[in-house]
Protein backbone atom coordinates (compact mmCIF):
# COMPACT_ATOMS: atom_id res chain seq x y z
CA UNK A 1 0.00 0.00 0.00
CA UNK A 2 1.45 3.37 -0.92
CA UNK A 3 1.68 6.28 1.51
CA UNK A 4 -1.18 8.08 -0.17
CA UNK A 5 -3.55 5.15 0.11
CA UNK A 6 -2.51 4.60 3.72
CA UNK A 7 -3.27 8.18 4.59
CA UNK A 8 -6.67 8.18 2.93
CA UNK A 9 -7.57 4.86 4.57
CA UNK A 10 -6.60 6.30 7.94
CA UNK A 11 -8.60 9.46 7.31
CA UNK A 12 -11.64 7.43 6.29
CA UNK A 13 -11.33 5.33 9.42
CA UNK A 14 -11.08 8.39 11.67
CA UNK A 15 -14.15 9.82 9.96
CA UNK A 16 -16.25 6.66 10.38
CA UNK A 17 -15.27 6.27 14.04
CA UNK A 18 -16.02 9.97 14.60
CA UNK A 19 -19.47 9.71 13.03
CA UNK A 20 -20.31 6.56 15.02
CA UNK A 21 -19.23 8.32 18.20
CA UNK A 22 -21.40 11.32 17.36
CA UNK A 23 -24.34 9.02 16.72
CA UNK A 24 -23.87 7.21 20.06
CA UNK A 25 -23.64 10.54 21.90
CA UNK A 26 -26.80 11.80 20.20
CA UNK A 27 -28.49 8.58 21.26
CA UNK A 28 -27.51 9.11 24.89
CA UNK A 29 -28.85 12.64 24.62
CA UNK A 30 -32.23 11.95 22.97
CA UNK A 31 -33.06 8.45 24.14
CA UNK A 32 -35.09 5.61 22.67
CA UNK A 33 -38.10 7.54 21.40
CA UNK A 34 -36.24 9.54 18.77
CA UNK A 35 -33.18 7.46 17.99
CA UNK A 36 -31.92 3.93 17.87
CA UNK A 37 -28.34 3.28 18.98
CA UNK A 38 -25.75 2.31 16.33
CA UNK A 39 -25.66 -1.27 17.62
CA UNK A 40 -29.45 -1.67 17.68
CA UNK A 41 -29.73 -0.20 14.19
CA UNK A 42 -27.07 -2.55 12.85
CA UNK A 43 -28.69 -5.66 14.29
CA UNK A 44 -32.09 -4.50 13.03
CA UNK A 45 -30.60 -3.95 9.56
CA UNK A 46 -29.13 -7.46 9.55
CA UNK A 47 -32.53 -8.85 10.50
CA UNK A 48 -34.19 -6.75 7.77
CA UNK A 49 -31.90 -8.15 5.10
CA UNK A 50 -32.89 -11.65 6.11
CA UNK A 51 -36.56 -10.95 5.28
CA UNK A 52 -37.75 -11.48 1.72
CA UNK A 53 -40.05 -8.46 1.80
CA UNK A 54 -37.15 -6.08 2.34
CA UNK A 55 -35.02 -7.65 -0.39
CA UNK A 56 -37.89 -7.10 -2.81
CA UNK A 57 -38.00 -3.38 -1.94
CA UNK A 58 -34.24 -3.04 -2.41
CA UNK A 59 -34.46 -4.82 -5.73
CA UNK A 60 -37.27 -2.49 -6.78
CA UNK A 61 -35.25 0.63 -5.92
CA UNK A 62 -32.12 -0.71 -7.61
CA UNK A 63 -34.09 -1.53 -10.75
CA UNK A 64 -35.60 1.96 -11.06
CA UNK A 65 -32.24 3.51 -10.26
CA UNK A 66 -30.26 1.43 -12.80
CA UNK A 67 -32.66 2.17 -15.64
CA UNK A 68 -32.65 5.87 -14.73
CA UNK A 69 -28.86 5.99 -14.54
CA UNK A 70 -28.38 4.20 -17.86
CA UNK A 71 -30.76 6.65 -19.53
CA UNK A 72 -29.14 9.66 -17.85
CA UNK A 73 -25.69 8.56 -19.04
CA UNK A 74 -26.77 7.98 -22.65
CA UNK A 75 -28.80 11.20 -22.93
CA UNK A 76 -26.19 13.20 -21.01
CA UNK A 77 -23.29 12.07 -23.22
CA UNK A 78 -25.23 12.64 -26.45
CA UNK A 79 -26.42 16.13 -25.47
CA UNK A 80 -23.03 16.95 -23.93
CA UNK A 81 -21.10 16.08 -27.09
CA UNK A 82 -23.61 17.88 -29.27
CA UNK A 83 -23.35 21.07 -27.22
CA UNK A 84 -19.59 20.63 -27.07
CA UNK A 85 -19.42 20.77 -30.87
CA UNK A 86 -22.12 23.33 -31.54
CA UNK A 87 -20.88 26.61 -30.10
CA UNK A 88 -24.05 28.61 -30.77
CA UNK A 89 -26.38 26.04 -29.17
CA UNK A 90 -24.00 25.76 -26.25
CA UNK A 91 -23.91 29.51 -25.62
CA UNK A 92 -27.69 29.65 -25.80
CA UNK A 93 -28.56 26.51 -23.84
CA UNK A 94 -25.81 26.10 -21.24
CA UNK A 95 -27.06 28.89 -18.93
CA UNK A 96 -30.54 27.41 -19.15
CA UNK A 97 -29.26 23.97 -18.16
CA UNK A 98 -27.27 25.48 -15.30
CA UNK A 99 -30.34 27.27 -13.96
CA UNK A 100 -32.38 24.07 -14.30
CA UNK A 101 -29.88 22.62 -11.83
CA UNK A 102 -30.94 25.22 -9.25
CA UNK A 103 -34.67 24.54 -9.58
CA UNK A 104 -36.18 22.50 -6.74
CA UNK A 105 -37.10 19.61 -9.00
CA UNK A 106 -39.20 17.94 -6.37
CA UNK A 107 -41.97 20.40 -7.18
CA UNK A 108 -41.98 19.13 -10.77
CA UNK A 109 -42.80 15.66 -9.56
CA UNK A 110 -46.60 16.11 -9.75
CA UNK A 111 -46.25 16.95 -13.44
CA UNK A 112 -44.20 13.83 -14.08
CA UNK A 113 -46.65 11.78 -12.11
CA UNK A 114 -49.55 13.10 -14.17
CA UNK A 115 -47.62 12.52 -17.37
CA UNK A 116 -46.22 9.05 -16.61
CA UNK A 117 -48.66 7.69 -14.06
CA UNK A 118 -47.87 6.07 -10.74
CA UNK A 119 -45.14 3.50 -11.19
CA UNK A 120 -41.73 2.69 -12.51
CA UNK A 121 -41.64 5.16 -15.41
CA UNK A 122 -42.32 8.22 -13.25
CA UNK A 123 -39.54 7.15 -10.86
CA UNK A 124 -37.15 6.61 -13.74
CA UNK A 125 -38.03 9.96 -15.33
CA UNK A 126 -37.48 11.73 -12.03
CA UNK A 127 -34.08 10.07 -11.58
CA UNK A 128 -33.10 11.03 -15.12
CA UNK A 129 -33.95 14.74 -14.79
CA UNK A 130 -31.79 14.87 -11.66
CA UNK A 131 -28.82 12.96 -13.03
CA UNK A 132 -28.64 14.09 -16.63
CA UNK A 133 -27.75 17.75 -15.93
CA UNK A 134 -24.27 17.27 -14.41
CA UNK A 135 -23.41 14.68 -17.05
CA UNK A 136 -24.29 17.16 -19.82
CA UNK A 137 -22.40 20.03 -18.18
CA UNK A 138 -19.23 18.04 -17.45
CA UNK A 139 -19.19 16.43 -20.90
CA UNK A 140 -19.52 19.70 -22.77
CA UNK A 141 -16.86 21.38 -20.68
CA UNK A 142 -14.62 18.34 -21.22
CA UNK A 143 -15.03 18.73 -24.99
CA UNK A 144 -14.28 22.45 -24.75
CA UNK A 145 -11.19 21.83 -22.64
CA UNK A 146 -9.67 19.34 -25.06
CA UNK A 147 -6.27 20.64 -26.19
CA UNK A 148 -6.67 22.38 -29.58
CA UNK A 149 -3.57 20.60 -30.88
CA UNK A 150 -5.32 17.23 -30.54
CA UNK A 151 -8.31 18.46 -32.52
CA UNK A 152 -6.04 20.03 -35.14
CA UNK A 153 -4.18 16.73 -35.46
CA UNK A 154 -7.50 15.00 -36.00
CA UNK A 155 -8.40 17.50 -38.69
CA UNK A 156 -5.06 17.04 -40.41
CA UNK A 157 -5.74 13.30 -40.44
CA UNK A 158 -9.14 14.07 -41.98
CA UNK A 159 -11.08 12.19 -39.32
CA UNK A 160 -14.85 12.14 -39.62
CA UNK A 161 -16.89 13.59 -36.76
CA UNK A 162 -17.57 10.14 -35.33
CA UNK A 163 -13.91 9.12 -35.58
CA UNK A 164 -13.00 12.39 -33.90
CA UNK A 165 -15.24 11.54 -30.96
CA UNK A 166 -14.13 7.91 -30.82
CA UNK A 167 -10.34 8.37 -31.14
CA UNK A 168 -9.60 11.88 -29.91
CA UNK A 169 -12.27 13.65 -27.89
CA UNK A 170 -13.48 10.71 -25.86
CA UNK A 171 -10.05 9.47 -24.70
CA UNK A 172 -8.92 13.04 -23.98
CA UNK A 173 -12.08 13.98 -22.14
CA UNK A 174 -12.54 10.76 -20.18
CA UNK A 175 -11.32 12.08 -16.80
CA UNK A 176 -13.69 15.04 -16.80
CA UNK A 177 -16.58 13.03 -18.25
CA UNK A 178 -16.07 10.50 -15.49
CA UNK A 179 -16.41 13.25 -12.90
CA UNK A 180 -19.77 14.07 -14.50
CA UNK A 181 -20.79 10.42 -14.36
CA UNK A 182 -19.84 10.30 -10.69
CA UNK A 183 -21.89 13.38 -9.79
CA UNK A 184 -24.69 12.10 -12.01
CA UNK A 185 -24.70 8.81 -10.14
CA UNK A 186 -25.33 10.52 -6.83
CA UNK A 187 -28.05 12.79 -8.19
CA UNK A 188 -29.85 9.99 -10.02
CA UNK A 189 -29.93 8.00 -6.81
CA UNK A 190 -31.34 10.98 -4.92
CA UNK A 191 -33.91 11.53 -7.65
CA UNK A 192 -35.19 7.99 -7.72
CA UNK A 193 -35.32 7.75 -3.92
CA UNK A 194 -37.22 11.04 -3.66
CA UNK A 195 -39.70 9.83 -6.26
CA UNK A 196 -40.30 6.74 -4.14
CA UNK A 197 -40.70 8.75 -0.98
CA UNK A 198 -43.28 10.99 -2.49
CA UNK A 199 -45.53 8.69 -4.45
CA UNK A 200 -44.90 5.03 -4.87
CA UNK A 201 -45.98 1.69 -3.53
CA UNK A 202 -42.60 0.07 -3.69
CA UNK A 203 -38.96 0.65 -2.93
CA UNK A 204 -36.80 1.96 -0.11
CA UNK A 205 -38.24 5.48 -0.29
CA UNK A 206 -41.70 4.04 0.22
CA UNK A 207 -40.52 1.94 3.16
CA UNK A 208 -39.03 5.08 4.67
CA UNK A 209 -42.26 7.10 4.36
CA UNK A 210 -44.24 4.17 5.70
CA UNK A 211 -41.92 3.91 8.69
CA UNK A 212 -42.55 7.59 9.50
CA UNK A 213 -46.29 6.95 9.45
CA UNK A 214 -45.85 4.04 11.85
CA UNK A 215 -43.26 5.91 13.90
CA UNK A 216 -40.96 2.92 13.61
CA UNK A 217 -37.67 4.56 14.63
CA UNK A 218 -35.53 1.46 14.12
CA UNK A 219 -36.85 1.00 10.61
CA UNK A 220 -36.31 4.67 9.71
CA UNK A 221 -32.73 4.53 10.96
CA UNK A 222 -31.99 1.19 9.31
CA UNK A 223 -33.26 2.26 5.89
CA UNK A 224 -31.43 5.59 6.18
CA UNK A 225 -28.29 3.70 7.13
CA UNK A 226 -28.60 1.31 4.16
CA UNK A 227 -29.08 4.22 1.74
CA UNK A 228 -26.22 6.26 3.20
CA UNK A 229 -23.79 3.34 3.31
CA UNK A 230 -24.64 2.34 -0.27
CA UNK A 231 -24.31 5.89 -1.62
CA UNK A 232 -21.11 6.59 0.30
CA UNK A 233 -19.42 3.30 -0.63
CA UNK A 234 -20.11 3.59 -4.35
CA UNK A 235 -19.12 7.22 -4.40
CA UNK A 236 -15.83 6.52 -2.59
CA UNK A 237 -15.01 3.88 -5.21
CA UNK A 238 -15.97 6.22 -8.06
CA UNK A 239 -13.93 9.00 -6.48
CA UNK A 240 -10.85 6.75 -6.32
CA UNK A 241 -11.21 5.89 -10.02
CA UNK A 242 -11.79 9.56 -10.75
CA UNK A 243 -8.54 10.58 -9.02
CA UNK A 244 -6.60 7.88 -10.83
CA UNK A 245 -7.93 9.01 -14.22
CA UNK A 246 -7.10 12.64 -13.50
CA UNK A 247 -3.59 11.79 -12.35
CA UNK A 248 -2.93 9.76 -15.49
CA UNK A 249 -4.18 12.51 -17.78
Amino acid sequence: MSGDAMRSARNGLILIVGLLLLWQLLYFWTGDIALASPLATLSYTVKLFATDAFDVQIYETLRAFSIAYALAVVIGLLVGFWLGFDRLSCDALEPMIVSAYAVPKLTLYPILLLAFGLGLSAKVAFGVIHGVIPIILFTLSAVHNTKPILIKTGRVLKLSRWQMVRWILFPAAIPEIFTGLRVGFALTLIGSLLAEMFASQRGLGYVLMNAIGLHNVELIMSVTLVIVVFAATVSVILLAIDHRLHRRA
Binding site: L15, V103, A115, M197
Partner: protein
Amino acid sequence: MSKVAWYRIAVVGGIVALLEVLCLAGFIDKITMPAPHIIVRDLFRMVVSGRMNGAIAKTLSNTALALGLALGVGIIAGALLHRARALRDPLDPLFATYYAVPVFAFYPFFIVVFGLGDLPQVLIAFMLGVVAVIVNTLNGLDRVPTVLLKTARILRMSPADTALRMTLPFAGPYLLTGIKLAVAYAFIGVIGSEFIMSRGGIGYEISFAYANFDNATMYPLILLILIASVAVNGALTVWEQRLLARRGMR
Protein backbone atom coordinates in the same frame (compact mmCIF):
# COMPACT_ATOMS: atom_id res chain seq x y z
CA MET B 1 -30.04 41.59 -30.12
CA SER B 2 -27.42 38.88 -30.33
CA LYS B 3 -27.82 35.58 -32.11
CA VAL B 4 -27.58 33.72 -28.82
CA ALA B 5 -30.45 35.67 -27.29
CA TRP B 6 -32.63 34.96 -30.34
CA TYR B 7 -31.76 31.27 -30.12
CA ARG B 8 -32.75 31.18 -26.46
CA ILE B 9 -36.03 33.01 -27.07
CA ALA B 10 -36.78 30.64 -29.93
CA VAL B 11 -36.19 27.58 -27.74
CA VAL B 12 -38.32 28.79 -24.81
CA GLY B 13 -40.98 30.21 -27.13
CA GLY B 14 -41.00 26.99 -29.13
CA ILE B 15 -41.55 24.83 -26.04
CA VAL B 16 -44.33 27.09 -24.72
CA ALA B 17 -45.99 27.23 -28.14
CA LEU B 18 -45.76 23.45 -28.51
CA LEU B 19 -47.37 22.93 -25.08
CA GLU B 20 -50.04 25.49 -25.94
CA VAL B 21 -50.90 23.72 -29.20
CA LEU B 22 -50.86 20.25 -27.61
CA CYS B 23 -53.13 21.43 -24.79
CA LEU B 24 -55.59 23.29 -27.01
CA ALA B 25 -55.73 20.43 -29.49
CA GLY B 26 -56.51 18.05 -26.65
CA PHE B 27 -53.44 15.82 -26.92
CA ILE B 28 -52.70 16.76 -23.32
CA ASP B 29 -55.98 16.60 -21.44
CA LYS B 30 -57.02 19.24 -18.93
CA ILE B 31 -56.51 16.96 -15.94
CA THR B 32 -52.85 16.48 -16.87
CA MET B 33 -51.98 20.08 -17.62
CA PRO B 34 -53.83 23.31 -18.39
CA ALA B 35 -52.64 25.36 -21.38
CA PRO B 36 -49.69 27.70 -20.63
CA HIS B 37 -51.74 30.89 -21.05
CA ILE B 38 -54.22 29.62 -18.45
CA ILE B 39 -51.36 28.86 -16.04
CA VAL B 40 -50.04 32.41 -16.45
CA ARG B 41 -53.54 33.84 -15.95
CA ASP B 42 -54.04 31.74 -12.80
CA LEU B 43 -50.67 32.81 -11.46
CA PHE B 44 -51.59 36.45 -12.04
CA ARG B 45 -54.91 35.97 -10.23
CA MET B 46 -53.22 34.14 -7.39
CA VAL B 47 -50.68 36.91 -6.87
CA VAL B 48 -53.36 39.62 -7.04
CA SER B 49 -55.69 37.83 -4.62
CA GLY B 50 -52.79 37.30 -2.20
CA ARG B 51 -54.10 33.98 -0.92
CA MET B 52 -50.67 32.38 -1.17
CA ASN B 53 -48.83 35.24 0.56
CA GLY B 54 -48.65 33.39 3.86
CA ALA B 55 -47.17 30.28 2.27
CA ILE B 56 -44.72 32.32 0.21
CA ALA B 57 -43.61 34.32 3.25
CA LYS B 58 -43.10 31.16 5.27
CA THR B 59 -41.02 29.49 2.58
CA LEU B 60 -38.95 32.61 1.96
CA SER B 61 -38.25 33.26 5.63
CA ASN B 62 -37.23 29.63 6.23
CA THR B 63 -35.02 29.72 3.15
CA ALA B 64 -33.42 32.98 4.29
CA LEU B 65 -32.81 31.57 7.77
CA ALA B 66 -31.23 28.38 6.39
CA LEU B 67 -29.16 30.39 3.93
CA GLY B 68 -27.92 32.76 6.62
CA LEU B 69 -26.94 29.85 8.86
CA ALA B 70 -25.25 27.97 6.02
CA LEU B 71 -23.23 31.04 5.00
CA GLY B 72 -22.27 32.05 8.53
CA VAL B 73 -21.32 28.58 9.73
CA GLY B 74 -19.84 27.57 6.37
CA ILE B 75 -17.51 30.53 5.94
CA ILE B 76 -16.32 30.46 9.55
CA ALA B 77 -15.84 26.69 9.47
CA GLY B 78 -14.01 26.98 6.15
CA ALA B 79 -11.67 29.64 7.51
CA LEU B 80 -10.96 27.60 10.64
CA LEU B 81 -10.46 24.32 8.76
CA HIS B 82 -8.06 26.08 6.42
CA ARG B 83 -5.76 26.55 9.40
CA ALA B 84 -6.37 23.18 11.09
CA ARG B 85 -4.77 20.61 8.80
CA ALA B 86 -5.23 17.77 11.30
CA LEU B 87 -9.00 18.29 11.34
CA ARG B 88 -9.32 18.96 7.64
CA ASP B 89 -7.67 15.75 6.42
CA PRO B 90 -10.18 13.33 7.98
CA LEU B 91 -13.05 15.57 6.86
CA ASP B 92 -11.96 15.65 3.21
CA PRO B 93 -13.50 12.27 2.33
CA LEU B 94 -16.73 13.46 3.98
CA PHE B 95 -16.83 16.57 1.81
CA ALA B 96 -16.00 14.58 -1.31
CA THR B 97 -18.85 12.10 -0.83
CA TYR B 98 -21.27 14.39 0.97
CA TYR B 99 -23.45 15.23 -2.00
CA ALA B 100 -23.72 11.56 -2.94
CA VAL B 101 -25.74 10.96 0.21
CA PRO B 102 -29.41 11.86 -0.14
CA VAL B 103 -29.75 14.40 2.67
CA PHE B 104 -33.51 14.20 2.33
CA ALA B 105 -33.28 10.67 3.71
CA PHE B 106 -32.55 12.30 7.08
CA TYR B 107 -35.74 14.34 6.96
CA PRO B 108 -38.00 11.66 8.50
CA PHE B 109 -35.49 11.24 11.25
CA PHE B 110 -35.44 15.00 11.94
CA ILE B 111 -39.22 15.06 12.10
CA VAL B 112 -39.11 12.35 14.74
CA VAL B 113 -36.50 14.24 16.75
CA PHE B 114 -37.67 17.85 16.35
CA GLY B 115 -41.35 17.51 15.54
CA LEU B 116 -43.21 18.73 12.46
CA GLY B 117 -42.31 22.42 12.80
CA ASP B 118 -40.04 24.65 10.75
CA LEU B 119 -36.85 23.36 12.34
CA PRO B 120 -36.46 20.08 10.37
CA GLN B 121 -36.91 21.98 7.08
CA VAL B 122 -34.40 24.66 7.99
CA LEU B 123 -32.00 21.98 9.17
CA ILE B 124 -32.25 20.02 5.89
CA ALA B 125 -31.72 23.20 3.85
CA PHE B 126 -28.80 24.16 6.08
CA MET B 127 -27.22 20.72 5.76
CA LEU B 128 -27.55 20.81 1.99
CA GLY B 129 -25.99 24.26 1.71
CA VAL B 130 -23.31 24.40 4.36
CA VAL B 131 -20.88 21.91 2.82
CA ALA B 132 -20.90 23.72 -0.54
CA VAL B 133 -19.97 26.92 1.32
CA ILE B 134 -17.20 25.21 3.32
CA VAL B 135 -15.72 23.52 0.24
CA ASN B 136 -15.71 26.71 -1.82
CA THR B 137 -14.32 28.77 1.05
CA LEU B 138 -11.47 26.29 1.42
CA ASN B 139 -10.95 26.31 -2.33
CA GLY B 140 -10.76 30.10 -2.40
CA LEU B 141 -8.37 30.30 0.57
CA ASP B 142 -6.16 27.57 -0.90
CA ARG B 143 -5.68 29.62 -4.04
CA VAL B 144 -4.53 32.83 -2.39
CA PRO B 145 -0.95 33.18 -3.74
CA THR B 146 1.78 33.15 -1.13
CA VAL B 147 3.20 36.31 -2.66
CA LEU B 148 0.10 38.27 -1.61
CA LEU B 149 0.44 37.09 1.97
CA LYS B 150 4.16 37.86 1.95
CA THR B 151 3.42 41.36 0.63
CA ALA B 152 0.94 41.83 3.45
CA ARG B 153 3.60 40.80 5.92
CA ILE B 154 6.16 43.18 4.42
CA LEU B 155 3.60 45.99 4.67
CA ARG B 156 3.07 44.96 8.29
CA MET B 157 -0.67 44.61 7.86
CA SER B 158 -2.64 43.40 10.84
CA PRO B 159 -4.41 40.00 10.50
CA ALA B 160 -7.74 41.81 10.07
CA ASP B 161 -6.31 44.04 7.35
CA THR B 162 -4.77 41.06 5.60
CA ALA B 163 -8.10 39.27 5.63
CA LEU B 164 -10.07 42.29 4.40
CA ARG B 165 -7.64 43.65 1.81
CA MET B 166 -5.83 40.57 0.54
CA THR B 167 -7.57 37.29 1.26
CA LEU B 168 -11.19 38.30 0.90
CA PRO B 169 -10.89 40.20 -2.39
CA PHE B 170 -8.88 37.34 -3.85
CA ALA B 171 -11.11 34.54 -2.61
CA GLY B 172 -14.27 36.55 -3.44
CA PRO B 173 -15.26 34.81 -6.67
CA TYR B 174 -14.85 31.38 -5.06
CA LEU B 175 -16.92 32.45 -2.08
CA LEU B 176 -19.57 33.67 -4.49
CA THR B 177 -19.69 30.24 -6.15
CA GLY B 178 -20.35 28.79 -2.72
CA ILE B 179 -23.04 31.38 -2.02
CA LYS B 180 -24.72 30.67 -5.34
CA LEU B 181 -24.86 26.96 -4.59
CA ALA B 182 -26.06 27.64 -1.05
CA VAL B 183 -28.96 29.75 -2.35
CA ALA B 184 -30.01 26.97 -4.71
CA TYR B 185 -29.65 24.30 -2.02
CA ALA B 186 -31.54 26.36 0.56
CA PHE B 187 -34.45 26.66 -1.87
CA ILE B 188 -34.32 22.98 -2.76
CA GLY B 189 -34.04 21.95 0.89
CA VAL B 190 -36.93 24.02 2.19
CA ILE B 191 -39.36 23.47 -0.68
CA GLY B 192 -38.41 19.81 -1.01
CA SER B 193 -38.98 19.03 2.64
CA GLU B 194 -42.20 21.06 2.71
CA PHE B 195 -43.28 18.94 -0.19
CA ILE B 196 -42.50 15.61 1.46
CA MET B 197 -44.17 16.38 4.77
CA SER B 198 -45.00 19.67 6.50
CA ARG B 199 -47.78 22.00 7.61
CA GLY B 200 -47.29 25.01 5.33
CA GLY B 201 -45.24 26.75 2.68
CA ILE B 202 -45.16 26.69 -1.11
CA GLY B 203 -43.99 23.07 -1.30
CA TYR B 204 -46.83 22.03 0.99
CA GLU B 205 -49.40 23.97 -1.07
CA ILE B 206 -48.20 22.25 -4.24
CA SER B 207 -48.47 18.79 -2.77
CA PHE B 208 -51.86 19.68 -1.24
CA ALA B 209 -53.13 20.99 -4.58
CA TYR B 210 -51.77 17.90 -6.26
CA ALA B 211 -53.60 15.61 -3.87
CA ASN B 212 -56.82 17.50 -4.64
CA PHE B 213 -56.34 17.63 -8.43
CA ASP B 214 -56.35 21.40 -8.06
CA ASN B 215 -54.41 22.24 -11.22
CA ALA B 216 -55.46 25.89 -11.03
CA THR B 217 -53.29 26.19 -7.89
CA MET B 218 -50.58 23.63 -8.55
CA TYR B 219 -49.30 24.75 -11.94
CA PRO B 220 -49.15 28.47 -11.13
CA LEU B 221 -47.19 27.67 -7.97
CA ILE B 222 -44.77 25.47 -9.89
CA LEU B 223 -44.35 28.27 -12.43
CA LEU B 224 -43.74 30.72 -9.60
CA ILE B 225 -40.97 28.54 -8.18
CA LEU B 226 -39.41 28.08 -11.62
CA ILE B 227 -39.41 31.84 -12.23
CA ALA B 228 -38.08 32.66 -8.76
CA SER B 229 -35.23 30.14 -8.80
CA VAL B 230 -34.18 30.93 -12.36
CA ALA B 231 -34.24 34.69 -11.63
CA VAL B 232 -32.20 34.44 -8.43
CA ASN B 233 -29.72 32.05 -9.97
CA GLY B 234 -29.42 34.26 -13.08
CA ALA B 235 -28.75 37.38 -11.01
CA LEU B 236 -26.03 35.64 -8.99
CA THR B 237 -24.46 34.23 -12.15
CA VAL B 238 -24.28 37.71 -13.71
CA TRP B 239 -22.59 39.00 -10.55
CA GLU B 240 -20.17 36.08 -10.54
CA GLN B 241 -19.25 36.61 -14.19
CA ARG B 242 -18.64 40.28 -13.52
CA LEU B 243 -16.28 39.49 -10.64
CA LEU B 244 -14.45 36.93 -12.76
CA ALA B 245 -14.25 39.33 -15.71
CA ARG B 246 -12.68 41.99 -13.51
CA ARG B 247 -10.09 39.42 -12.52
CA GLY B 248 -9.54 38.63 -16.20
CA MET B 249 -10.56 35.03 -15.66
CA ARG B 250 -13.21 34.92 -18.34
